[in-house]
Symmetry: C2
Subunit: 350 residues, 2 copies
């Protein structure tokens, strides 16, 4: 007997980049066909989203583009962020604060260098029960032996310390890529969660070596790291949840001498996930990983009645690209993950 139809609630994507301007207008409506109905939106715009006002204005823009999606907004951790602003943000429904190490990924120039300077902010977040989202890498430093392959593992002690110092603060280690990260998160208390992307369940270092559309931060690592990510999803560990880190960039910025980091998965989140989870025997964990674990960790209400997606085992081709006009009126495109490949699961059109 084989499963050919799956009915599940809409998925929740607890880490997504929806950009701004023309690119935002191009990618945000694609949420509608993806099976995702909750989008936890990253604040690394230019300039970064550092205030409640900015976050709410951004949310209003997104809501217009995808009225049926529930947008959860975040602030960018930076020296301007005060405990007062945290309390204000919480009242306004802002869900979390994202911390970027300086210079590590797209638009992270305003990122943090040390956490201790932010302890007042974290205390306020703990009080109002706001979530701290960590980009878990330390900056590369050849003198110290730090490079993209071990930057996450070397970060983990900071996660451990933050959790020790703020045991009630809900912290999510974002887009984990290593066995070490999986083990560290498992070893910590119930207030520490961990998001895993679609693409890190599929890629290893070989896949981005010479392949710009698979290049992202943190980079995909060793086969045993991918195996650990797959295993923790297969095991159904409740604190590991979907956050795609879908990060669209125009093709010309990827296929270039110096490529920007990011894999674009938004348009087909559930078909990708069903296909990939089935490939390692974890299809039965799809609802838990994509629709339940995150909601529980983020304390969201149960799915509304009728929030249902039907997946059918019918192949769908991933488009070669998604075209759009950029802010200068130039025709551009975004290349999705697995462009031109066939997925074994698709979303049934109602």
């Amino acid at each position: 007997m084989s499963v050919t139809t799956l009915t599940l609630p809409h998925a929740d994507d607890f880490h997504v980049h929806l950009r701004q301007g023309a690119l935002m207008r191009a990618v945000t409506p694609l949420l509608n066909g993806s099976g995702v109905a909750t989008a936890y939106v990253m604040p690394n715009l230019k300039p970064p989203v550092t205030s409640t006002e900015q976050a709410l204005a951004y949310k209003a823009e997104l809501q217009q583009l995808a009225p049926e999606v529930n947008f959860l907004m975040t602030l960018y951790l930076s020296p301007e962020l005060t405990p007062d602003e945290i309390r204000k943000a919480a009242k306004a429904g802002i869900a979390g604060v994202k911390s970027y190490p300086r210079g590590v990924t797209t638009n992270s120039d305003s990122g943090i260098e040390s956490y201790t300077a932010y302890y007042d902010v974290f205390r306020a977040m703990e009080e109002v029960d706001m979530v701290l989202n960590l980009h878990g890498e330390i900056p590369s430093d050849a003198e110290e032996g730090v490079c993209v392959m071990n930057a996450e593992e070397r970060f983990l002690k900071h996660l451990q310390e933050l959790h020790r110092d703020f045991p009630k603060l809900r912290i999510v280690l974002e887009h984990a890529t290593t066995k070490a990260a999986v083990e560290m998160v498992k070893s910590l208390g119930p207030t520490v969660g961990c998001s895993i992307t679609v693409h890190h369940l599929s890629l290893i270092v070989d896949d981005w070596a010479g392949c710009c559309h698979h290049f992202c931060k943190p980079v995909a690592k060793y086969p045993h790291d991918r195996a650990a990510l797959q295993a923790v999803v297969k095991e159904g560990h409740p604190r590991f949840l979907l956050g795609t880190d879908s990060a669209p960039h125009p093709r010309h910025a990827k296929e270039a001498s110096t490529s920007v980091a990011g894999v674009f998965t938004t348009p087909l989140v559930l078909p990708y996930l069903a296909t990939i989870l089935e490939s390692f025997g974890a299809l039965d964990r799809l609802p838990q990983f994509a629709c339940q674990n995150g909601r529980a960790f983020y304390k969201l209400p149960a799915h509304p009645q009728g929030s249902v997606v039907t997946l059918v085992k019918e192949p769908v081709s991933v488009p070669a690209e998604y075209k759009f006009m950029d802010d200068e009126g130039q025709e551009r495109s975004v290349v999705p993950f697995m462009a031109g490949k066939s997925l074994t699961w698709s979303i049934k059109q109602h």
Copy 2:
């Protein structure tokens, strides 16, 4: 007191890809300005160079393009290669045989899968004192945990076994990228040498993450690996020698969805090397690394009288690209290593 002028013999590049057709005609004459006068030429053409005739015909083409360069030719290890062909090749002055693991790098589809099938060939090579050049990586295999980051380290046991079984066969581990490789080569006997490229003395994994012009095989590894390569050059170990693995590709094949592997260093070999060696305090080892160790290992005669290059500490800009017309008459270009950057050492024009 600081060194501002260096006079040394022409360099010997014991690993270079000079391609064929239009690209060959574009890159081979660039040897003239590079400070290199001996070029040990890789046989991975389409089709691969597997016979003495092919190698001699290829050599004649190259010689026409750079009459002052001493071209040393190699054969591609494949099932067609017989002990008789080895003896014939040796008589014709072919210097070595190159072994590629199947599918690991550019035009390696004809590469080997197991060495034992070639033991008769190796025995003949040992008899005629021909050099075996090893691309030292095993093919990636996620099930076995093998990926581009550990493919070289996992290969080293094969080097060890080959040396044990053929202690008199001169073997060069090509383009070493890891501390493990340096240590293994050091631990073996005087018949085992090791080439190091210009770019692996400079790059780590971060440099090719999202940067196609730094992507090559084997990929650059961790900071401690680069440090080990630099240290063995600085130490002046006599069995570590220059082999640039300069591997030109047209820009459009690099800046693409799937990028081909290779870093192009031929036009400025000595200026690159002087600049990079000076950066880690090993400038005094330049003559030994680039002009002596290789000649000694390969048993070449002393440099001819008047084979002299003068390097001066005057900055030179690396060109953004080298234009050429491809075989279809299309204007193309090759982007060199450190394109647009400034080198601190240049070759004095006579």
